[in-house]
Symmetry: none
Subunit: 225 residues, 4 copies
Amino acid sequence: MKLPELANVLPSEPASRPTRSRDPERTKQDILDVATMEFAAHGLAGGRVDAIAAKTQTTKRMIYYYFESKENLYALVLERAYAGIRRIEEQMDLDRLDPETALRRLIEFTFDYHDAHPEFVRLVAIENIHNAEHVKASLAVRETNRPALKVVEHLLSRGLKSGVFKRDLEAVDLHLMISAMCFYRVSNRQTFGTIFECNLNEPKLRERQRRMITDAIALFMMSPG
Amino acid sequence: MKLPELANVLPSEPASRPTRSRDPERTKQDILDVATMEFAAHGLAGGRVDAIAAKTQTTKRMIYYYFESKENLYALVLERAYAGIRRIEEQMDLDRLDPETALRRLIEFTFDYHDAHPEFVRLVAIENIHNAEHVKASLAVRETNRPALKVVEHLLSRGLKSGVFKRDLEAVDLHLMISAMCFYRVSNRQTFGTIFECNLNEPKLRERQRRMITDAIALFMMSPG
Amino acid sequence: MKLPELANVLPSEPASRPTRSRDPERTKQDILDVATMEFAAHGLAGGRVDAIAAKTQTTKRMIYYYFESKENLYALVLERAYAGIRRIEEQMDLDRLDPETALRRLIEFTFDYHDAHPEFVRLVAIENIHNAEHVKASLAVRETNRPALKVVEHLLSRGLKSGVFKRDLEAVDLHLMISAMCFYRVSNRQTFGTIFECNLNEPKLRERQRRMITDAIALFMMSPG
Amino acid sequence: MKLPELANVLPSEPASRPTRSRDPERTKQDILDVATMEFAAHGLAGGRVDAIAAKTQTTKRMIYYYFESKENLYALVLERAYAGIRRIEEQMDLDRLDPETALRRLIEFTFDYHDAHPEFVRLVAIENIHNAEHVKASLAVRETNRPALKVVEHLLSRGLKSGVFKRDLEAVDLHLMISAMCFYRVSNRQTFGTIFECNLNEPKLRERQRRMITDAIALFMMSPG
DNA sequence: AATGAATGAGCTTTCATTCAT
DNA sequence: AATGAATGAAAGCTCATTCAT
């Protein structure tokens, strides 16, 4: 005998919505998109599989079906995030520009990309909390990123050969300097902004710092050591 | 360069002490020390109160007795971490140095502190993942850090007045530039090192980058905009 | 007097069933049955989820899976308890009886139901300790019980119209009078019995009081105010 | 070395306020007063020793010093509550009134006392949830209450002898009838009021029911069985 | 290939109480 | 007689994952 007032006795985990997408690839992308936001927002430990499932058109079970584990899902999210910046970077075609312009262009691109993709910045910060163990385990991430250094190397040798660059830096060092400033502005925006009472998102500040970073590095490269 | 008093920020060897310590202040410090390592290692969500208790000479119950909640313990760990860098910063006494030397000294100190305190760097990175909500809630952190900007401001105005600094930067911008490079090297050491196959811990690399960062910023300040 | 269908309100012998019951509806009912006894015995604060799990063929985890929280489980237990009395009340069909007989019948039914369901009485007493906040939050409970007053209202108007009832009471007042005596006998059985050294469970006492209550109220209704 | 920002690291349990009342009896009464409200509000299981300590001028430790355990404190609270109603009851001096007036007076007093002391009603309801085990264990409670029945017995025999009362009830039965209606109105005020959408606190309703109860019982006593 | 139902393990937190003077 | 500091035991609840088809 069924008691009508017991109708709202429902399992605590979010009711499954009918998937039936019949498009596995789309479903996977959907999950990856949502997982990207979840992990970027709360970290690997703080991110919830339930929360991801709830924001997806799928069920929690499907996440495990396609991705096997939370950690593996996270690793794929990370791979995809790294792929994003490098894919665009490749299209810059710096070779058609003179070294100084190319350098400035590279810095500005890096600045803009980080600024536009805080979730990428957060994911990388999170990955460092986990000692980069997923990056270490992923051939894909390492292969995706290797060309980035080649670009800098090539630019450096062009600039030195033409005499525009006066400083014979290692490519890693130049890359570090550029990345550091572009990354930190976004990764530490919240603590920095709170403590020093400024909004690093504000367009005026953003432009001022974009120019400063570009000028500082360009100046450094073009002054004799 | 020797950094004074680093030893008491985090004792290198946690002295073993009797369980019923009868010394509440020491017990609290013990918990804070262990919690600092735990949260720095695994984040707020990933850190385990059980793990902290296990590494302490106390019980889990005592952690709650002294600190009320995991989150509050984390917040105090964070406060203490911020206090560490500022306390030492205050002892630099930059005023007795000429502006250029003072600037170089400030950068080198910042570099060395971050290099020597990766757990501080990690805690700040973690706090940013949590949108700095604990920093926002903590008057102590904000008050601890405010002087840091004053130091930069004062240095800037001295340098400009004396004509050594040619560039009229905002203090926040200069501070950002210094922090970014010192912070990123440590915070992103793992992903950066893995992807670009280098060990940012290696003394030679460390020294080279220390000089590069110092030179780049000093040069920037002393060249006309 | 025989009360129909009491058996399924609370099964007298909880049938033992396999752990992985594969019958969610039965498992839920099982949990509700056990929880009813636990909360009736120890209250909401005093009832233990662990104890409920132990007496069920399920685990604590399943209780949370089906009912989300201890408090929600309690609320549903309460709803079900209220549903029990009203479902039977509905089957009394007082209209076919003359007003006096109907009134006596209603009182006797109320008396018998409370006498047979001390766990219902205890749950309502407990809910009052909690300021009826779960009843206030439950549309189901309020809707389940509303008809009860209609029954009294209808009986009252029939009796007055036919001239048998001489007293124009409010339905709430008559209902209160009936409920009070039937409820108190059970709710306060333990303190009353102890202090005045009598056993309110004893059949002879029970019958005597059943008649007294019925007579007192019937007499009151049929005497001119 | 003391870190100033750690000053707010305080034990989680409420800081002890200096007692120094130097008046043990007053302190005990203070604790009993507060405990009465706490237990009446939340029950024995739901009442918190911490909450009692916080609202007292003493510390939690003192509660244990004077009362040994939470349960013992509760038992004493209960004893005191029972003593309250009987102390006043004794002052009624019903003998100077004719039996009918005396009966009406007794009912009205009982009604008024319950209405004015909901915490007493709640404590008794709570004690019944605990199967009156503290009442059973307390000689004091039983001795305090025994006279109450004597009063009814004496009134009954006076009324019967004088011929005013026509019904030869047992004293327990009359007492039960009176208590039931006076108690239920208060004990079940919350559920009853919510379900039947009325406020049993409202003065008009209160007066109407007071008269109804008195009339019903008086009428019953004075009509031949 | 796809999925609804179920769950073991472990989490943070609470609470009455006792230790030690 | 009086008390500040400490605590064992267990409570409610959460989470990623697997069972079973």
